[in-house]
């Protein structure tokens, strides 16, 4: 990957790992379970370690400067706003579906876990994409 700094390569690696693990989980599964969530967590950790190790091995200059830190902060800010907004929306939707009787109360815990995890995943992707855009626009 020419013209890319270590930080950029690392971000692209993270994005690929997120898409590979979260994509099938959220778009291909039929029924949620604790086991699937646990599998996803282990999957993302293992894949991130493998990809990041490969990037480290093929990148000599791994310097992190002031601009990298600024871009990182921007990413976290965008991710935080996404998380807070989605949390409010997600909790409202859970309440709405429960109030309308569409969601059995005994399955509330699993649905809450699913919504909460989805929010974390989307926020993480928003953070990564925001950082990539900042790098591509040279900030």
């Amino acid at each position: 990957m020419p013209q890319l700094s270590y930080q950029e390569k690392s971000l692209y690696g993270s994005l690929i790992a997120e898409i590979l693990v979260y994509g099938p989980y959220f778009f291909l599964h039929n029924q949620n379970s604790i086991g699937k969530v646990a599998g996803m967590i282990i999957g993302i950790i293992v894949l991130q370690i493998v990809i990041q190790l490969a990037i480290v091995a093929f990148t000599r200059n791994r310097l992190k400067d002031e601009r990298d830190k600024l871009i990182e902060l921007r990413g976290y800010r965008a991710g935080y706003f996404a998380m807070v907004s989605l949390m409010v929306f997600g909790l409202f939707m859970l309440w709405l579906h429960t109030a309308l009787g569409e969601l059995p109360v005994n399955r509330m815990g699993l649905h809450f876990l699913s919504v909460f995890f989805g929010i974390l995943v989307i926020s993480d992707i928003v953070k990564t994409v925001t950082q990539i855009i900042a790098y591509r626009r040279s900030l």
Binding site: Q3, S5, Y6, Q7, E8, N61, L63, D65, E66, R67, D68, Y135, R137, S138, L139
Partner: protein, 71 residues
């Protein structure tokens, strides 16, 4: 239009210095030097002083502040 302009590209050419060499000298990545040269990123005061020090000139000869609406 950016409010902070710089002469880094010209100073580099005068000193026959590559972007990577300047980046190594001031402790940033080459991508950051590119962003500064293109007026897309304003460096910290510390980095600005380091750049001036590398070229052996005053800070004002490297960076110029252009208040908005004065063009």
């Amino acid at each position: 239009m950016p409010s902070i302009l710089n002469q880094i590209r010209e100073l580099r050419a005068t000193h026959d210095m590559t972007q990577q060499a300047l980046a190594d000298a001031i402790g940033v990545t080459r991508q950051t030097v590119i962003a500064i040269e293109q007026d897309k990123y304003s460096p910290s005061l510390e980095t600005a002083f380091k750049i001036a020090l590398v070229f052996g000139v005053a800070l004002e000869q490297v960076f110029q502040y252009q208040p908005k609406g004065r063009r």
